[in-house]
Symmetry: C2
């Protein structure tokens, strides 16, 4: 039975979601209606769009098989309705992916055209941001739509139900929890495939272009005689838009799920001594907080759409973020007051009804702080990247070693922010506070993803301007947008890993709750050698995962370089014939997709196999170990890659005296950049999902495996 308060509140949130999706549709058609520009621009953007679509179509042929198999297994053996909710998750993630990529491939060419027609930075920023906001609001809107559908269609959340699959194998579980966790798992699996395949696609194309251009034929970057360049272009959309959308959708949904699962656990560990009204309030608040965030994003992004923009894009983008975050904080506080003011609270909530709100604010502040720290370590305006650029004068070995040091050094501060937020939220509001803190960080994900998507749109717009030989003034505008986009991309990566860290911690707590018997204290004891062994294994698996992704990328790049090389006949090199771009586009997709299965399945199967053989606590150890290793590794990969990239830009902009473009120092910086490409765009971003997917799978299977254990 669903209390009427819950139903009403969820329906109100559903209204907001529908409003947001209508706004998404409005922007989508508005962008689509804008003119595309010159015939060259129309042709090239058409190739990019159809290439991107081809990739997604090929990829989804594989994804559908895996998703269908998993859904059937869930329905048959786990819980009757969980297959459906799993499919809903997979579907939401896929919709967001397709919509995001489609809108970005519309927006990029229209952004360049707006720059061409208006020659105004402000007007151009508006188009790019409008394109980005389609992705952003879709991520938050569809993520919540599916979640609310799960809640509303299946009777909300009950703490004392039990169900089974169609085939009775003696496994019972709480169907309400199972539906939420399978919904989240559906989002996770699609995100994993997208990130792994997208990363491989874009970087194999990018690096193979570099091999052909710089090492084998001495051509400028992105020269149209290199057959791999168009695939490289497409890759930006595949990874930075589609991959990023499904990644953050997954984080967002996972934290909502974790909050609700922890609310159930809390109720159960208190052994029924808690009022139903308290339970309902803790179940309600996460969805309402996400709704408040969505309203905040609508306001922040809507204002950006209406107002006249100035010539400082970075200020305009920051403003949108600040407005969205500010509204989330204010509305969240009001909601918290009404939800918790009249219900009896848990005894460890230090500040009464304010406690969950303070936790959510901690998360928001932490997210923004991590973004600022990331900018410090990767932007050309600050010491770390400048010093890295200086090291380029001493040759390749020095650049790489210094880059490693910058990456490793950049880990401490973000982690410090994370643990301060963790501890403060935990002290004030217990494990519920930690989940809410994670959700707070992601509650305005719509705005974050919009700003994030701005980057690749601006990047592609610049590329189109270059490739279609538009006026240098146009290129100046897109360059300015691109520079801002680089910074927002770095910040976005920092934010993604920060939120993943938080999400995973709350998922692990939810996991412990899911396997603990009702009324028992939660325990994951590292004084047990099983758990320690799991922890060490989890850490090593992260390294292994990094190795697979890295090897896949350079192997694919080498193959693509060799095949591309054969096309670069004298005719092509003389400009008398065009290379076969489509062949390379298809090849990049094929290479990426057949390589995506192993790492994804690894993340899926490890907790299941580990759990059945050595038990739930062993799996708990694996999750902790994987998280503890993945957080610093992901930060390292993102920031060392970002610093390499910008050190190269620093030299190219002539800011290192006596060492310009073409100098040995520049050559060394290019080496660093290429190394960083795989790190930041393939490995770093996939690590987030690796730990989230493992945690989500574990949460799903926790009630099943808790009574099984072959060994020990």
């Amino acid at each position: 039975m669903l209390s009427s308060l819950l139903t009403t509140s969820w329906l109100i949130v559903l209204g907001v979601v529908v409003l947001a999706l209508v706004y998404v549709a409005f922007n989508y058609f508005r962008i689509k209606k804008m003119p595309e520009g010159t015939p060259d621009m129309i042709e090239l953007s058409g190739i990019i769009r159809s290439g991107a679509q081809t990739f997604l179509k090929t990829e989804y042929k594989s994804i559908i098989v895996v998703v269908a198999v998993v859904a059937v297994i869930f329905t048959l053996f786990v819980e009757k309705t969980s297959g459906i909710t799993f499919l809903m998750g997979a579907m939401m993630s896929s919709i967001v992916c397709v919509l995001g990529m489609q809108s970005a491939t519309y927006a990029n060419v229209r952004t360049s055209n707006k720059a061409r027609e208006s020659l105004s930075i402000g007007e151009t920023v508006k188009v790019a941001l409008c394109g980005g906001s389609i992705s952003g609001l879709a991520v938050q809107g569809f993520g919540m739509l599916g979640f609310l559908a799960v809640l509303l269609c299946f009777g909300g959340v009950q703490h004392d139900a039990s169900s089974q699959g169609f085939v009775q194998v003696g496994l019972t579980c709480n169907p309400y929890i199972m539906r939420i966790s399978t919904y989240s798992l559906g989002c996770s699996i699609v995100a994993m495939f997208n990130r792994v395949a997208g990363g491989n696609y874009t970087k194999a194309a990018d690096i193979s272009s570099d091999i052909l251009g710089k090492l084998r034929h001495d051509l400028p970057e992105d020269d149209s005689r290199i057959p791999n360049t168009i695939a490289d272009f497409i890759g930006d959309n595949v990874n930075d838009i589609a991959g990023n959308c499904s990644d953050l959708l997954e984080s967002f949904v996972a934290t909502m799920s974790a909050s609700i699962m922890i609310a159930v656990t809390l109720f159960q560990t208190h052994g029924g001594k808690v009022a139903d009204s308290t339970f309902n309030a803790t179940i309600l608040f996460p969805v309402i907080l996400a709704g408040c965030g969505l309203v905040g994003c609508l306001i922040g992004l809507g204002l950006a759409n209406i107002k006249k923009m100035g010539d400082n894009p970075s200020r305009e983008l920051d403003l949108s973020t600040w407005i969205s975050a500010g509204c989330t904080i204010i509305f969240g506080g009001v909601a918290c007051y009404f939800i918790f003011k009249d219900v009896p609270l848990y005894e460890d909530w230090k500040f009464g009804w304010v406690s969950p709100w303070v936790s959510s604010v901690m998360g928001i502040i932490a997210g923004i702080a991590i973004g600022i720290i990331t900018e410090y370590y990767t932007s050309t305006d600050h010491k770390p990247t400048q010093k890295l650029a200086e090291m380029c004068t001493e040759g390749e070995a020095f650049v790489v070693t210094k880059g490693d040091a910058v990456g490793s050094r950049s880990v401490l501060l973000p982690v410090f922010v994370i643990i301060v937020a963790l501890i403060v939220s935990g002290v004030i509001c217990g494990s519920y506070g930690i989940a809410i803190s994670a959700l707070g960080m992601l509650a305005f994900v719509g705005a974050t993803v919009s700003i994030d998507a701005f980057g690749p749109i601006a990047d592609n717009a610049g590329g189109l301007a270059e490739a279609c030989h538009l006026d240098p003034d146009v290129r100046k505008i897109t360059d300015k947008l691109d520079a801002v986009g680089n910074t927002t991309a770095a910040i976005g990566k920092g934010f993604a890993i920060g939120s993943a860290a938080f999400a995973t911690v709350s998922l692990i707590m939810a996991y412990v709750g899911n396997y603990t018997e009702i009324g028992q204290p939660l325990s994951l004891n590292f004084a047990s050698f099983f758990v320690v062994a799991g922890g060490i294994l989890g850490g090593a698996l992260v390294e292994y995962f990094c190795a697979i992704l890295t090897d896949n990328t350079i192997d694919a790049a080498k193959i693509m370089a060799d095949v591309g090389d054969k096309q670069m006949t004298q005719e092509v090199l003389d400009g008398k014939a065009k290379p076969d771009y489509n062949m390379m586009i298809a090849m990049a997709a094929k290479e990426a997709i057949h390589r995506m299965v192993l790492p994804s399945v690894l993340a899926l199967l490890i907790p299941i196999i580990g759990g059945f053989i050595l038990g739930v606590e062993f799996v708990g150890g694996i999750l902790v170990g994987a998280t503890i290793v993945a957080i610093p590794r992901a930060i390292f990969m993102g920031n060392s890659g970002g610093a390499f990239d910008n050190a190269k830009k620093y030299i190219e902009q002539g800011m290192l005296e006596g060492h310009g473009k073409g100098s040995p120092a520049h050559k060394a910086s290019v080496t660093g950049d290429t190394i960083g490409d795989t790190r930041k765009d393939v490995v770093g971003v996939a690590l987030d999902i690796f730990i989230k997917l493992m945690s989500t799978v574990s949460n799903t299977i926790a009630p099943i495996i808790k009574n099984f254990r072959i060994f020990g």
Copy 2:
């Protein structure tokens, strides 16, 4: 009161130790008496020896201050006698360091001379191994000597005593435990200083030589016109001998301590329901097992000294290891039978009195298996390094990326071995089994270090042969030894990290025991957000530590390159004047020593500060997090470095068709090698000690901080 059985047994072991040390002295003087060869050889080896001595003298000026301050603090505030035991640990570590380095600098020149005089591989191997065995047996002998002195002078181990420092600040602890852990801490601190300073010294000298030779002046490697070359020579002794000796001494002592601390914890968690005879047996066995190992090493190394050696050095070295390991297993089994057959055993010892023995054998097998896996990933005979060499044809960025992948991939198997050994030992013999397993791995450390020390001695012997223009036939012999030495060095590094992982796990278990109240179950609960926060912080601290060491090395290298460059006047370059080697030697020492303090103090202070602010469980989290991150990172650093090094050798030996010395592929492989140098010789080897030192400090302060906590 010390039971007479314990006293008698310990005295017997002491007899073995004295015998081993007499054998060390015998070998030392035997080596010293051998002829040094030509006047050139005498002069150059004299410079190396005095340079190495100068470094140690300068370094110890700093070490003594830190050690003295810590000893006074312990005596005043912690436990009256603990300052003395701390000093004993520091002293043993220092003796081994000085003795090892002194004997190695004697042995290297005599090894070349033996090759010159005898032109026999077998004879030459005997000299190098004899030199190495001085280090090896000293490590095990002095480590045990100090330990036995602590036990015998202060009345063994009691489980129910309590004491304080001279200044009573309300802190009480078990003085027996405190003495053992401070002894171990004394070893740790000296090891930390040695590894950090030694690594910096040797690599700053090495890399700055490379910058001057390869980048700035186009001279061959180790050319005598480069003023930094001699410092590079000395570095091998400073890091690979002195650093390695104190590193493994520390691991060995730490595992003995952990075994005994866990024995005490076991007794206490069973709340007095355990017979005194059982307690005594569990206290006795670790020392006896170490004694059995020492006898095994004496037999293995003694036989190598007596027998006539063939022309296959690798076979001869392996034979010594196998004999030592085999004897340890056999004698350990016999000892286990006599110690445990008649006493009541703990209920979780699945196989009765055999249980501890099986655990020790698990450790020995795991150690050897990790060595073999390390060889697979780093030797030119196998796929990973060969594939890395092939990637060199695609340029620097590819080599580095592929090297990263090889390093990350090489983590999984060793970790798998570690966790299998952990779980099996744990299941069979509980937490005591895990400590014994770690000790088993290190029980024949005398042989391992001897084989390890063989490498740098052979390396230096080859360098001397080259520098003193000896006959090419001599060089052929030393090259063969050097090649074998490279493999043993890689295996030694694998062994060091494997044993460090084991040692740390048992130290963490001992730590939890040290802070748990008597009769309570051991718990380190990762379902608590404090502990999770500690875990994440611990992981990040490892990354930060890596960053400091990396930055220190390249900063020092850059400074040394700039200073060295000024000396390379036209006169020096024309060979008309000699550069000032001594200035560079002194400079390398100065740079290394002033940079060693921060990282070392970091490891020392983090657990103390963390514990006082956020409590013992938070520190437990830090230790777990640091260990889980440090194990894969250390393996990564060692193996990627080793693979880079050997990929370069592979190309230099002409094994990559069409890409010999001087080709672009070779240049790329040199870049990889330089990057790998910092990884394997500075960062990787220091990580072991970082986690061991943190764990040892935590063990020492656990009884003190368990009742303090400012926050939370």
